[in-house]
Symmetry: C2
């Protein structure tokens, strides 16, 4: 296993190298190992994917359980892991800083924080409070013995406030507060993403699989995006397969979905070899 | 939640009603809830599917962890759950009986036992020892305060001894020893399955997704099969989707696999409603 220092440096350097990279999101140990064996350079957890694998809705998993999940993914793979830390599990800067410390203890070398409140009536915290949260998290990250890549998310598009000007103001403030990577989930137009890239001075993460954004990796690279994450999309694709299989069995009583199944021996050997190598 | 008595009776009665039924195999809480919401009458765990979701090979999970998983699936769903108890986690009849007791404590109302040894040199135990194991398990099941449906498996096809005569001798002996359901994974010909049905006097379970068996539910019903399980096939179908998504992203840098993903809001609402109803 690589040390947390090595993994932290490796993850930071992925953002410094030229070109774009995909950071895929596993939701359990098995998918973490498959994605590791597939040659990616880092993994990111997904709060929604993990919640769905536990039969829960997104946002209903507490900090302790989510950090156990982060530790589980870290233990499953030699790759650097960035943790989806949702809204930091607490409004205050102190709580956000504590969440960064706990994520680092769980083995993560990066993490993302949203500017959400958890209150459905007023889902976003204001830009000032959100910046203080990022500043406290960045200061905590700087006290760690390895590079911790902090991603700050502007959530206004996702909570029904699709105002690009607000997105940019928020991301600029989070950059100022010390975020290493910026991220605005829910942008659905390539031009808007390009405008964001031009308006900030940090690597931008774009999520695929939300809000109908229909672009290729090359197009995203061409407009200057550095990192592409999948959120819960890979997980939701597998639920699509499960629902289609159920519909086929309960409809016509056939099992054509088996054609897409990985053969037992292939999967069994892959996991046996992976486990022996760890 | 229904009592274990109600679930035990309901599961037993599924085998007494006319016609065939599918008992699908979830591998985590999320898939258990999706399959429950899909209208099936019972669930069965899968040792291989669970192992794969933990990035391990089949057979590498011990009794304690596997029974925690069984309890997890039982807690996830109001449906009766039958537990995949592999080789009973011990050669002796006493160990097999203990495994039945522990599975019942975990909330299962049924379970399957293989006639395997766990020894790769001599993978099958002989018919006499296997029958004693089934007898001890059936006697233990009879002491429970609810009907526990015991499934006995003849594994000779799966361990490279594809002798139908041996399969039938084994299943007849297990019937005699008190098994409620019989099961011979690895049969790949419909005629062989029909021969087994005619040779025994208990409901027969057939697994789909192994050994290239290519039949419809109706064909299986026509030859007298009572129950169809999927083993790890649904799980392996979702790994197929994951590998295809990875190949697409790393190949052409496109994200066409998203077309098959369940929309975020749909999955989130389904799990929120499910959780609130429990």
């Amino acid at each position: 296993m690589r040390s947390q220092l090595e993994k932290g440096e490796s993850f930071r350097d992925l953002h410094r190298r030229p070109g774009i990279f995909i950071i895929p999101n596993p939701w359990d140990v098995g998918t973490a190992r498959i994605l590791t064996a597939s040659g990616f350079g880092a993994l990111a957890t997904t709060s929604a994917g993990y919640a769905f694998s536990r039969g829960r809705s997104d946002g209903s998993i507490g900090r302790e359980e989510m950090l156990r999940h982060v530790a589980d993914i870290v233990a499953a793979s030699p790759l650097p892991v960035s943790a989806d830390l949702e809204g930091g599990y607490g409004i205050s800067p102190e709580e956000a800083a504590m969440t960064i410390r706990l994520a680092a203890s769980a083995g993560a070398v990066g993490g993302s924080l949203e500017d959400t409140s958890g209150d459905p009536e007023r889902p976003l915290i204001d830009i000032q409070a959100a910046s203080e949260r990022i500043r406290a998290a960045a200061e905590e990250a700087a006290r760690l013995a390895f590079p911790f890549t902090l991603t700050a998310r502007a959530e206004n598009f996702l909570v029904g406030r699709p105002n690009l000007r607000e997105t940019i103001s928020r991301l600029q403030a989070y950059q100022e507060a010390g975020a290493n990577v910026l991220y605005a989930p829910g942008l659905s137009r390539k031009e808007d993403i390009a405008t964001v890239v031009r308006s900030v001075d940090r690597p931008l993460n774009v999520v695929i699989g939300l809000a109908g954004l229909d672009v290729s990796l090359e197009e995203l690279q061409d407009i200057g995006v550095k990192r592409v994450s999948l959120g819960s999309a890979l997980c939701r694709a597998t639920f699509g397969t499960l629902l289609a299989a159920v519909a086929e069995m309960r409809g016509g009583g056939t099992f054509g979905f088996l054609k897409g199944a990985v053969p037992f021996a292939q999967l069994n050997t892959l996991f046996r070899d992976f486990h022996e190598k760890l």
